[in-house]
Amino acid sequence: MRKIAILYSGNSVHHKTFYDPRFKKYIASHIYLPELASTALDEFDVLYVPSQLNGHLLLQSKEKIINFAENGGIVAVFGPQPWTWIPNQNWEERPTNFWWWLEKDAKSGLNLVNPDYHLFHYITLADVTWHHHGVYWPIEGCEVLIATDDGGAIFYVDQVSTKGTWIVATIDPDYHFGSYFMPATERFLLGFFPWLAEGKI
């Protein structure tokens, strides 16, 4: 099983999500974000970077996180990304449609680009479907797993920008689960953590 460290912001949604025993059992360490700069990451295989972190502290540790990936680590990043710090990050913020599911013949506009990818042994498209706050346009060589109808990436894997792996998603399951809202996020996390710990990446 991979050794997963999570960046813990100290906010209520992250406390609720990452101390839930169903997810905590996959987490080797909760690294309190203000202590990230002084914490060694060498012993971990995966660094989980949740949504809604303090921007100043995140950017202060940008080089540290990139070095972790350059040493072969896996970095999983979630949520809208108003700060530029992910290698070859190309983020496009979009207005969020919270209400698509109320429309007649509702369509989320999300598609599985590679349904055979191992992650989808653990989750389904429905488990990543709530809303998103923007899309990425990853560079050539990245594997886009979930995309909007116009090809914007909601979820991609980048094994070309560094020597490690970046799992990058615009969705924010840690926030919604931790705020007691959006049941799909619970299903997503119940599938995502086992994949992150043991799945083919």
Partner: protein
């Protein structure tokens, strides 16, 4: 010169627009949460703390907050409390939801913050319930109960007894963020601000007369 309210900014993605929003620019000074320890609070009437705050850090600031309240000032926290840094407050209790009707918000007391605000406008957003509050607090004795889920589960209360100051605790989103939705909830932001000014003046008068 200090503005009326100090907004303690978690520095998260969802909060960035507040830094430049005219409503906040007029009456709020905004400080990053990790600068709170070294911020001089003496010129502020109120501290407003949103739900994304780092509560591990706020726990280290409990004495500073208590001192601020002892000066007869106002603390507003809107969110889910899980650490002990607000005097007299219980931890947030998530509500067990069996039906969307469990999210129904009830006004328990005519109060200027919610004057003219319809309960249904708080409960429903485009016909969907659950945005306003999904849990509650066990309030201190003698607290003024403003809003509940159902009849007894307290979403919003004001505590004027635990300290010399005034604590407004709300188990939902930032009350100052309710604006520009074209429904009666838009009143909440400006009415909360008006309450801050009125409650502060009243409390300072009481302190002088005592």
């Amino acid at each position: 010169m200090c503005k009326t309210i100090l907004y303690v900014d978690p520095g998260h993605a969802f909060g960035l627009k507040k830094r430049t929003h005219p409503f906040y620019a007029k009456d709020f000074d905004i400080v990053d949460q990790y600068s709170f320890a070294k911020t001089d609070l003496s010129g502020y009437r109120c501290i407003s703390i949103p739900g994304f705050i780092d509560q591990e850090y706020m726990q280290t600031q409990r004495d500073k907050i208590l001192e601020f309240l002892h000066d007869g000032k106002i603390l507003i926290f809107c969110g889910h409390l899980f650490r002990d840094w607000i005097p007299g407050a219980s931890m947030f209790i998530p509500k067990k939801i069996n039906s969307f009707q469990d999210y129904a918000v009830h006004i328990q007391k005519n109060h200027m913050i919610f004057k003219g605000v319809k309960e249904d406008d708080m409960t429903y957003n485009k016909g969907v319930a659950g945005f306003f509050a999904r849990g509650f607090y066990q309030p201190p004795k003698q607290a003024e109960i403003l809003l509940t889920l159902g009849e007894n589960e307290v979403v919003t209360y004001i505590d004027q007894n635990t300290t010399n100051g005034i604590i407004l605790l709300h188990a939902g989103n930032d009350l100052f963020s309710y604006m520009q939705a074209n429904k009666t909830t838009d009143r909440i932001s400006t009415q909360t601000f008006a309450w801050v000014q009125a409650a502060y003046d009243q409390r300072q008068k009481e302190r002088v007369s005592n």
